[in-house]
Structures are given as structure tokens and as C-alpha cells.
Symmetry: D2
Subunit: 255 residues, 4 copies
């Protein structure tokens, strides 16, 4: 069987120009993967470079956090985009971050859609396939992070691996969907930590109706824009290690 | 000495969303390099892919046409950007296009700044060096196209080669500067062709005061947004070939 | 009873920066109302002023053509916006155009949502009410143009009048919905003119299944971005006048 | 003669979408004029409404804080804009805010350019005149706030009054220019208060070379994005009142 391992990923680089969001520098020490915004919903070239540099300094793996072109809505509003648009928006953003990361001496490790694009690709195999097509055109070894393995066939058809995530700091509805908070609220760090450990060791997470469901997730997502993001990340990291879990960046086993 | 050769480069992919600009499909047959807009002053992910595909079909070399973030001003208004901003904007745009071109089976061949960024980098060694730094971080083999070799030391310090351009369809002032037309006007194609041939064979171009100056340019730029762009490109190409010039994509000799 | 009258409205001012769209100057002579884009889906302050000036010169009534914030999608992609967002986006755009029109010596005459916002407000009473609330906060005498009178109660609750439109250059589905063309195609001007006359005299329009439906529309919308927009506008105008219809800007009778 | 009075104005509404900037709610009680960002450099329709509502609740006068179209640079980078562009950008933004303020039951009281546009209009009579032309086309009774009275002739030629400002929380160079801080730093509130009182009572402010210069300013600008903005505003307000100064919104005497 082997020792239990898990990745902790957090959205980073969500500042834009004069506006700051998230405490990237203080979250970095506790995580293993950073999803860096690529300019469509947040982030800009200068902030992308600063975030990439910070991740490389901390030995944190870097993912392209690709979003819909909606700065005003922070990429959280559904836009009726075609699959061609999803593919092209993703390719553009992945390429932009890849160049910046490469020029800082690093390399991309994964791709994760943001906000409404995440929901769209987790729900629609066609749109998940469109992002996978973009990845395959650039570097098929980059896994795609989504809410569940349901769109896996559409992703794997492009030779791209899908890594499902669990969200210990969000409520799940009984069907396994996430209850999104328009502005992320502070959660009790100990509760988040208990849910994180349970995801890794028991492969289960509680739902809003008091029941629980199975989750099979090699990576845990925490919210970097929560008011207590640093404390939560630290608490989760320590609880996982205390439970004997090795926290390490995502490494997909090739099938 | 060898046979005379020259590259013809044209700005392409300057449509944006619903708006069309330039007749890319009909200009492509006559040119050897296409500078594709990367989304900051014109272009969008879908148009970038369409332009890349078209260039690849025609065997035309592809350059990243990087601009200032000013869609409303079409990148033609000077913005006081720092050298860090120039480097980061360039890296972002080069990477975005590179990924799209790669996913279409092609590869980038050069980088050329657009409009006000072109003027800035041709006039300021610091800003030329900043773009060269971006190129060096991605692929130092991509030459940088600018108005003259004056900023060459700042560019070559990053291991990047500078290729100077000549503009047979623009007026030169006596100091060798270009007289920019806010909206490109139609020029007599035969006059443009005569100037093009003279640049290649005599290394000289006439100036607005009736005199002429030396130009040493391995590539000729024609304007794709001129009303008679297709006719001009065809006329120039044929005149060059009739004069015994081999028209072929830019190939820099490593020193 | 009285003599039949109708308004002809066309979307105008859809250029943006360097990009041109529509032949406003040559369409103006044939129409009575111009819907001027306000910068969210098309248009910019300079183009808005130029369009306002042109409309005033031709004695054409001016409407605020308010859109979703999506230049890249030309406002034609549905975005999940809240009613507060619709109200605020509409107020912002109406105010911006109102100031420009006033400074040219004119005044606004109506408000019409564009593209996906038009579809949203024609289908959702809550969103139609949100635009009406914006109008009421600025000038309740400006009528709101929508596809049908179905949302009238939500609009009139704010003291704003709703004017339904007919579209003689678009296909109707049997339910009275429009079949949108992503890029407007040329239609036979005579067919458009026959449909226009029938809307005014018979209050009926044909549908895609060969049947026809009732329409009660004091204004006819023609597409300014059709390739043959000028010829169509002229043909429709002349056919209406030949049929004894007075073509004049919308004047709502206060109930 | 008469009792000394002064206005305190602060930039407000500089949030954008998901991003927060400034503590508007806690600064409002101490000031008499709020310059609300209008969407070009900061602000969006929803935030503009929220800021307008807050100002009206506190009885604070509202100004249109018009900027260059540069969200990424927060309007602080000089862009080479023509006078027509300045006039049209200003008219658009003033109109947008005016409509929102009117729909909240308030009315505009002044206009103030932001950042690089402020510097441009304070230095160039042509550009100051262009903003004044925009104001005159909307409501000539709105005074225009600038750094000094130097461009007054160009402004007053349009029938618009110019109100000069003093900046007690910024360094002045010996020529009377401001030393801009790219990101506003915290200043000692007592020092700011002493300078504010001196501006009102002595009409002088100290400069970076240890000397001081004359200022004739009916309004004092404080920075709302300083880390200690609330404490500074409170300290200045109380020091002015303790010195017998009446703090009240700007009222220009018609000449």
C-alpha cells in the first residue's frame, strides 16, 4: 500500500496592479502547490513573476490557474463560452505563465481552471476536454485539476491526466457539489484540518446534510483569500504531518 | 559575397473579437514573416490561433508582435512603462503566442514590438534591453526586430540578436526616424517596390528632405492595414524577385 | 385609428478604437432612431461623440445601447449577472452617453439593451425591472426597447414605458424568439421590406416553421452590421413610405 | 477677512470588483468632499453606487474623479492622450457618475482628475481646457480641482471655475511640484495636521529643501489609500477645528 501522501494547493497571485489580495508570502511555507492567476480573472505579468519567484524560493510546485476573461467579476460569473474559446483562453494563459516561470528558472507542474471555468469544466466533459486539448498542445505531462474524476474520459482522450481535488474549507452539498462562498469566509482551522486528515486517511468528507461522501483526491485545495488563510494552512499542514501523512507536491503515476 | 536575400515581414492577427482588421489570408502568399498581435494592443486567443494556422499553412515564419496594454489606443500611444513592466509584458505575450503556435505544430521565429513600444525600444537602450531580457528567459535564439542597430549592445548583452528593419512604405525623416501615419494610407505600390529593391541592393532609402540615408536591414516591413496591402505586398515581392533578390524568412548568422 | 406610423432603429457607434464596424454615415439618412453603443460591448468615448454628432445632424433620435462588460465577446455571450449589476451597468452607460449627447446639444430618447443583455431582459422580468430601475433613477420618460411586452409589468412598476420591437431582418422561431446570427448575414432587402410593411399594417411576421405570429411593435430594428445594411435600410424606408406609413422617431403615448 | 474655512477632499471608491482599497466608511466622518473613481483607473458601477450612497449618508459632497483608461497602472502612468481624448474620457466618466449619484438622490459637486491625468492637466493648459470643455458641456457650475491656479485662464475660458488644492500629506519640491509616492506611505498625522492648519491660516507650505512656498487653496487633499488614512483624516479635522477653522464643502464664489 505505501505511506499516505497528499498535496496542498492554494490559489496565489490574485493581486492585480495596485490591488492586493491574499498573503502569498506567509501561506507559501505551508503548502506544496501554488495555482498562479494568469491575467484573465486576476494577476498581471508583474504579479505573475513575483508569485513564480516566491513559489520557486519555497520549493512549491506551480500551476497555471486559468480563468474566464472577467476581471470585474473575478472570473466567478458563468460566461457562455464555446469549447474553442475555452481551449484558446487556456492555451494563451498557460503559455504566458510558462514563459514567465521558465525565465525564473522553474517549470509548470499542473493546470487548474478558476471559478466559473472550474465549475464549467467540472460539469461539462466537452469543456474539460477543451482544456485538456490546450494542455496536450503545450505539454501533455501537466495534470489537470478538477472537482471530480467524472470528466476523466474526455481529459484522458487527449493524453492528459486528471487529478481530483478535495476542499476541506468548503461545504459540500449531498450530491458532491461545492457550496461556493462569494467572498471566502474564515472557517475554524481545526475543523478544516480534521476534514483534511479524513480525506487522506478515510477518503470521505462530510456534506451539508450531515451525511458524508467518498472523495478520492490526491490534492487538497485551501483558499488563500480567506481572512485566516495563513493560520488555516499552517494548522492543516501540521495536522496532516501529525497524522503521519507526507505532504508533497502532486506526482501523478502514469498508467 | 553571395546572392542578395531579404525577408518581408507584415503585422498580422490585428483583429479583435467581432472586429476585423487587415486581409491576412490574401497578404500571406507574398510574405515570409508574420508578426502576430498577442492580445495587448490587438489580437485575442482565437485570432492568434487562426493567424498562426494561416502562417503555418503558407510556410510563413511567425513572430510575436508584443504591445503595450492599450486596446483603446491600438498600442500606438506612449505609456510611461518601466523596464520591469516592458520585460514582464513581453514575456507574457511571447509565452502566450508560443504556446498557441506550438499547439498548431509550429514554432516562433522572432519578436517584434508594436507601435509605441517599438518606438520606445528603438529609442531607449534600457527598454530594448528589457525586451531582450524577456526573450533570453524564454529562447535566446529568437532575434528582436527594431528600427536600427543603435540599441544592439543592450540587446546583445542578453545573448539576443538584433535585426534592423527598413520600411519602404513609410516616409523617413532626415535623421532616420519614421513618419508614422495614425491610420495607414495607401501608397503607390511601384514606389514602395522601388524603395524595397534599393534597400536590398544599395542599402539606401530616400528621406523626406529629398536626400537619402544608409540602411542595413535584413528584413523589410510592409503595413498589413494599408487599404491596398495585398497589391503592395505582391508588387514588392515580384519586384524583388525580378531584381534577383531571394525573398526568404529571416535567418540570423550567429557571430 | 389614424395614419400608420413606425420608427426604424439601428445599432450604431459599434466601432472601437482603431476598429471600424458599420457604415453609420450612410445608414443615418434612412432611419429615425440610433442605438449608440456605450463602451461595454463596443463604442468608446470618442466614437460615442462622433455617433451622437452624426445622429443630431440627421435629426435621428438617440438611444443608449447598453451592454454587458465583454468587449471580446461583443456583448453577445450570456454572463450570469445579478439584477444589481444590470441596474448599475445600465445606469453607468446611460449616464455616460447622456453627458456626451448633452454636450453636443442633443438629448437621449430611449434605452435599449444589446445582445445577451437584450435576451436576458426580454426573458427575465427581474432583469428587465433592473434596467427600468436604472432608467427611473435618471429619466423615467425614456422608454425601454425589448423584444416583447411580456416584461411590461416589471418595467412599468418603475414608471418606465416598454416599447416592443420587431426584427424584419431576423428569423423568428415559432415561439416568437429570435434566431440570432453570430455574424449578421446579408438578407434580401426586398424580403426585409415586405416583412417590415406587414408588421406595421398587419401586425404579423412570418416564423421559421412557415407559420406567422402577431407582433405589436411601434419600432422596427434593422442590423447596421449586415454587409448590405445601407441598401436594406433604404429599401425598407422607401417601401414603408410607398405603403403610406409615416416613418418617425418613437413617441410613446402616456397612458 | 471673515472666518477661515476649508474643504477636506479624499479619493474614494477606489475598489474594483473583488479588490478592496481604502477604508471609505471610516474616513467619511472626517471629510467634506469625496472624489469617487469612475471606472477608468479604479471603481466600477457597483462600487460607484456604494460610494455615492455612503457620501450622501454622511453629507459629504461628491466629485467625479476621472482618470486615464489604465486599470493595470491605476491611472498613474502618463499616456500620450490628445485633448479630444481627455475631453471625451472626462465627459464619459462625469456622466456615468452623475447618473448614479442622481439615482441615489444626490448631485455632483466638483470634478477632479486622478493621477497622471491630474499631473497632465495641472501642467498643460490645453489638457486642463479639455477637461473644462467636458464640464461645460455637462454642468459648468462644477468646479475643477487642480494643483495650482496656473491653468486658470484655459479653464475659465469655458466658464468653469478652478479650485487649487494643497496636499498636506505629500512632499513639495521647491518649484511647487508634488513628490508622488508610488504606493502612499503613512505620514505622522500630527505633521500633516500642522501643515494643513498652516495652509489655511498662513497660506504657506514647507518644501523638500527646507524652505516654503505660498499656496492659495480652498481645499485640502488627503490620501485615502495611506495605511493610516482614518487616523490622519481625524487628526487633521480636529486640528483645523481647534484652530478655529470651519471645515465645510467647497463653495466657489462666482466672480
Amino acid at each position: 500500500v505505501g505511506f499516505p501522501t497528499v498535496d496542498i494547493n492554494v490559489d496565489m497571485g490574485e493581486s492585480y496592479g495596485r490591488w492586493r489580495l491574499g498573503d502569498d508570502a506567509n501561506v507559501m511555507p505551508w503548502i506544496t502547490s501554488a495555482n498562479i492567476a494568469c491575467g484573465f480573472h486576476a494577476g498581471d505579468p508583474g504579479n505573475m513573476r513575483a508569485s513564480a519567484r516566491l513559489a520557486i524560493e519555497h520549493g512549491v510546485a506551480i500551476g497555471a490557474h486559468v480563468g474566464l476573461p472577467d476581471l470585474l467579476g473575478f472570473g466567478r460569473r458563468r460566461i457562455d463560452v464555446t469549447t474553442d474559446e475555452v481551449r484558446d483562453y487556456a492555451a494563451y494563459q498557460i503559455g504566458a505563465l510558462q514563459a514567465i516561470v521558465a525565465s525564473e528558472g522553474g517549470r509548470l507542474a499542473h493546470v487548474k481552471p478558476h471559478g466559473a471555468l472550474y465549475a464549467l469544466c467540472s460539469a461539462s466533459r466537452e469543456h474539460a476536454g477543451a482544456i485538456a486539448a490546450a494542455i496536450a498542445g503545450i505539454d501533455a505531462s501537466l495534470p489537470l485539476l478538477l472537482l471530480s474524476r467524472r470528466p476523466a474520459p474526455a481529459v484522458e482522450a487527449h493524453g492528459v491526466q486528471l487529478a481530483a481535488e478535495a476542499f476541506p474549507d468548503l461545504e459540500y452539498d449531498p450530491g458532491g457539489g461545492l457550496v461556493i462562498e462569494p467572498v471566502k469566509q474564515a472557517w475554524d482551522p481545526d475543523r478544516v484540518a480534521r476534514r483534511a486528515v479524513r480525506v487522506v486517511l478515510d477518503r470521505r468528507i462530510d456534506t451539508s446534510d450531515g451525511d458524508d461522501i467518498e472523495v478520492d483526491a490526491p490534492t487538497l485545495c485551501l483558499h488563500g483569500d480567506a481572512p485566516n488563510a495563513v493560520e488555516t494552512a499552517r494548522t492543516v499542514r501540521q495536522a496532516l504531518e501529525n497524522a503521519g501523512v507526507t505532504v508533497t507536491a502532486l506526482r501523478m503515476s502514469r498508467t
